[in-house]
Symmetry: C2
Subunit: 454 residues, 2 copies
């Protein structure tokens, strides 16, 4: 890990030299790493890595926010520099876990989701599948059309990965291969899901004047349990974080010319680009089809290959997104209509429980247009959690998980069930004894392991 | 854990109301927690706790710097507020690990020290014992006098703990009991060492004007391995962090009227108070004897009971120190010469690998005096690490560890051995086959498990 981070830091130092920033300028080091205790049998990581880099003496701290850790480390460094506390801060993010057993890694990563939902056998993939289905139905997208949309995301990001020498996957994928890949949790297939990667990223934040500026920061959380969320058709945390970041930058979503969004799953790219206001809700499918988000389109999304192809070394991903933006801003051929000068990155912690938005701006960006409206987060009072309708409720989305977590056997069936109580509705996660369909009316029973469809 | 943190947060909210700060004012939550993955089988802690507190939506991130985690969380919150990023930030620190097997907890905490030194069988206590001995000899303090000094720290902090309703230990200790307690790692006895505690702390940082101000922040690291340190008679990281904090506050150490320092071991309180410049190097023994650092003295140190008596819930300790200061600033009877108005807290990550200093100031503090000089960190070029003198070196400090870590048997003997190479000296950690004495000349052999005395 230290070696991976040191390699990334050397690249950052080499590039920073042109701006008068050297290794000796570093006054603090912020380290983003998810779980060094279990993945690496290491503690005291911030000091350890700082010492390894020959920077012992500098302040050093570790930041962690689940899978958005790299972005949170960057934001923490930005706060310290903006406060005048330090002039130059090195930000490192990284993860090394491929040396461990995949089942063990998966179990450890599953801690990002709610304990009660884990107890039911839910995994990150199955919850993402339910959210994807909920989104699809909210926008009246047919299952086949949705598969093509998701496939287009996978194909685009794999193609983009081929052009990125640092990508995890550098082989193209066809729509046919996508659709032929096995279901992990319906409708999500193997090629809907990002890989588990090793890797590191490094970036230097400085108060010196450089052509590149972090102009907007946004950060918001949501409930860990899906059963407690007010909104399931979009991610409130992304919308809130985006609103903060655009406000700080003094721009609107229509001023964004390049985006890196957290595509741990294809469907998450679709929803995220819409939650960022880059496209109206439900409109990403058309943008994909028209090639607008391809390299050379008017708003390339995940030109780096994204998490799907570049990979997802957890502590690094959020930081790598910003680095990927920085490498493309101002470059010819990146987008139609001239070099991009304003980019946005969205990093997601857990299933949108801890999301960070970063706006990056290159000198000479055009004056803000601020035309497009921001997607809002409507107030949504919910029925009490402990009062499910005794009559049951209606299935709003369902999934069958084919790779159950340790301790569970065979395919597991889950549904998001909307019930009513005290004149309000609430949608909760429930296990089902069989595949259930949307619009099906079901009865629920509360057990020690959670809600079950009878 | 969430429950402990929530209880602490409720106290903070209740007290903040007087300053116009409510639960609804909280825009971000910073969580200090050491190792929730292994101690609590939990991940995504920052969102988890924020959600548990009913604050889902707010930004949230976790900060970790080994045993100074609570202080680092506070500093991160201060950066965010000082940068204008958030107006009001809730800082939480906590740890819950007493439900686990002590040997397992100890092994997990041992990751704070260098991997190569762990491989030799060294533990935090044995390294602290070596540093304590090195300090004692550097100041020509006799072993008996040193035992009395350390005993006075233990007796004072235990007595202070009796007055603190939140303390882990609320029973007095006599010097006789101290000296009768078993050696853990010579010269350190059981009562030289702080406990493993559960607990939580909460504090609110706001940009609103309140009578209490964080006026100084300092933060510095040192090498993880003792064998690579430039200085062993004092902690360079504390001196550097103190210099930063005093400079930011525009004060000198003589302006401090109250201190909470990281007394994970008695000897560390002694060294830390001196490294903070509160007393000249080697002078803490006299201050203890004269009662100057007792409650009612002119500069009470660890009036809360410190880590030794208040306890050491790792993620909380550094934050709790600042809260303890805040509770005593402005209060009658705390010190001789009027209520204290300026306090300093020192929190230590690992064995002084990641140290943070915080200066807290109450409205109406007297103008800075800035008389006392700060203890400096002299340049100290060292011999290369990989060139131990073939003739061996001279023992500068030694310890016998009676509670070896898992995988080791019987008492283990360690020494800090000073050797010379290329005209420079370097002091390294070595295992010995028998107890060795300071000033003994020894020969060293490099093995796979580290340096061994022949």
């Amino acid at each position: 890990m230290q070696q991976l981070m040191a390699e990334a830091a050397e690249v950052a130092f080499a590039e920073a030299r042109a701006h008068g920033v050297t290794r000796e300028s570093v006054e603090a080091v912020v380290v983003g790493i998810l779980n060094p205790a279990e993945f690496l049998d290491e503690g005291n990581s911030a000091s350890l890595i700082t010492d390894f880099l020959g920077l012992a003496g500098a302040a050093a701290w570790r930041v962690e926010t689940a899978s958005s850790t790299g972005a949170a480390a960057l934001h923490s460094a930005c706060h310290a520099v903006a406060a005048g506390r330090f002039r130059t801060v090195l930000v490192l993010g990284g993860e090394k876990k491929s040396h461990q057993d995949t089942a063990q890694v998966t179990a450890r990563l599953a801690r990002m989701i709610d304990r009660s939902e884990r107890r039911m056998g839910a995994t990150m993939t199955s919850l993402a599948a339910l959210i994807a289905e909920y989104y699809r139905r909210a926008h009246r997208i047919g299952p086949e059309a949705f598969e093509v949309m998701r496939g287009r995301v996978a194909v685009k990001n794999r193609r983009n990965g081929c052009a990125n020498p640092k990508a995890h996957f550098r082989r193209e994928l066809t729509l046919e291969q996508f659709s032929a890949s096995r279901h992990v949790s319906t409708p999500l297939r193997l090629f809907d899901c990002g890989p588990i990667s090793d890797g590191a990223a490094a970036l230097i934040v400085t108060s010196r004047r450089t052509p590149l500026r972090v102009s907007g920061l946004g950060h918001a959380t949501d409930t860990q349990a899906l059963s407690r969320r007010s909104h399931l058709a979009f991610f409130a945390s992304t919308r809130r974080a985006a609103a903060q970041a655009y406000r700080m930058a003094g721009i609107g979503p229509s001023d964004i010319e390049l985006a890196e969004v957290h595509d741990a799953f294809t469907a998450i790219e679709i929803m995220s680009a819409e939650d960022l206001g880059l496209f109206p809700p439900g409109a990403y499918g058309a943008a994909l089809q028209a090639g607008r988000v391809d390299p050379g389109g008017d708003l390339p999304v995940n030109a780096s290959g994204g998490l799907l192809a570049r990979g997802h070394p957890i502590g690094a991903s959020g930081l790598a997104q910003v680095i990927e933006l920085s490498r493309r801003l101002g470059r010819e051929g990146v987008r139609r209509g001239g070099p991009p000068r304003r980019g946005v990155a969205l990093s997601m912690g857990g299933l949108a429980t801890n999301n960070l938005v970063t706006v990056l701006e290159l000198e000479g960006a055009s004056p803000p247009d601020d035309g497009a409206p921001l997607p809002a987060v409507p107030e949504a009072p919910q029925a009490p959690l402990d009062a499910p309708d005794p009559e049951g409720g209606v299935v709003r989305a369902s999934t069958t998980l084919f790779s159950p977590p340790a301790g569970f056997e065979g395919p597991l069936h889950f549904a998001l069930v909307e019930g009513r109580a005290e004149g309000l509705s609430r949608t909760v996660l429930a296990r089902a004894p069989r595949p259930v369909e949307a619009e099906e009316r079901v009865r629920l029973a509360r057990t020690e392991r959670g809600l079950f469809i009878l």
